[in-house]
């Protein structure tokens, strides 16, 4: 199927690579294609320049945000949290009626480490995005998990850990759950409720960051033991 991905960082690349290898038509969106391709240095997170990465992933087409949104039957938001709402507003018509899988986190690194959240508690980034795109079906998911595990949960404990989904549209959530199973072999997915439950899924990132520090690796995940 046609999938649009917004954001060329670690999360966007992980999804693009996995979906392209699986035979999907993937377009990955960036603000300025020429500028992105001209980058020659690793980004602040240590990711290789996009042009270098793309040589290993020839099936992934780099396009402007609007083209990626228009291309996707389903669109994945893998933008940096702080840039997400403004970038999405600019391409809102291309997302009308579509499912937007929102993986972004409202992390604020402006005061250094550890990060805090720029929205939480009585609001969330997921809700901000849903309000900015009222005609789009926003489903928050996978934001609690490191990028490579998002697309390959079986790499950890045979997949015996959990993903969460939050969203207002029941059919859209059911479709996203179906896609997570089909695309990435997710087996354990908990429906938290409407998009306001993105608050909980985003607020857990502070504990996630601390656990990363304690474990010295991002290769872990939460399992809800019942």
């Amino acid at each position: 199927m046609n999938v649009g991905i917004l954001g060329t960082g670690m999360v966007g690349r992980a999804h693009a690579a996995k979906l392209a290898v699986s035979g999907h038509e993937v377009k990955i969106g960036t603000r300025d294609v020429a500028r992105k391709l001209a980058e020659t240095e690793a980004d602040p997170m240590g990711n290789r320049p996009f042009s270098v990465w793309q040589k290993d992933h020839p099936g992934v087409k780099l396009v402007p945000f609007g083209e990626a949104a228009a291309h996707g039957e389903v669109v994945i938001n893998a933008l940096h949290g702080q840039a997400a709402v403004e970038a999405l507003k600019k391409i809102a018509p291309g997302l009308d009626g579509k499912i937007l899988i929102d993986i972004a986190n409202p992390l604020d690194f402006s005061k250094g480490m550890p990060p805090s959240l720029f929205v939480c508690n009585t609001d969330s980034l997921g809700e901000q995005i849903q309000r900015a795109l009222p005609a789009t079906k926003v489903v928050k998911t996978l934001n609690t998990i490191t990028a490579h595990l998002q697309v390959d949960p079986g790499r950890l404990a045979g997949g015996d850990h959990h993903a969460f989904v939050s969203g207002n549209d029941a059919a859209a959530k059911a479709r996203v759950i179906e896609l997570l199973k089909a695309w990435y072999s997710w087996t354990n997915i908990i429906d938290l409720g409407d998009i306001s439950t993105a608050r909980g899924a985003e607020m857990v990132l502070i504990l996630w960051t601390q656990l990363w520090g304690a474990a010295k690796t991002p290769f872990f995940n939460f399992k809800i033991v019942r």
Copy 2:
């Protein structure tokens, strides 16, 4: 050993009952002993009146907050989050030099369900308590777990799930980890770092509340799968 417990709600009672049965000298503190014993109705959380509960737990002595603090070699804070800092300030001298195991959560139910937090993100209740009691060694723990599992983790999946500890004093944290093992047979305890890491452990309560709603039971816990 002598243990002081502050707060007569579900959490305080769970710890008091378990420790008394194990042969510890337990005093449980309340603001006004006569008033607490005069209660004849279940509290808003559905807990039986204290006097009824106490008949099943004759080893637990009900005393004023200050007496419970003075009694305890180690003291457990099981107060409602919103009352905790003010109540603790009043008995601060009795806690000087002691370990305070802080289980309270900054939950705000004043706007109904779901709750929000009255402090989070760039501060936490654990930090507020540590600032209010600078001569006390505050160790945040168990606040992410329902009361009966706090004191009996083996009731769920043989204890294969996690507790967290946060605190500034390394020796106090090590002592609390030792006590959690000895008192309640906890086996999986992750040290998150200094008391500022209480932010993450408290912010996870929003997801915890959502999971309670989704699972229709509080008998679950987080396992960190690595």
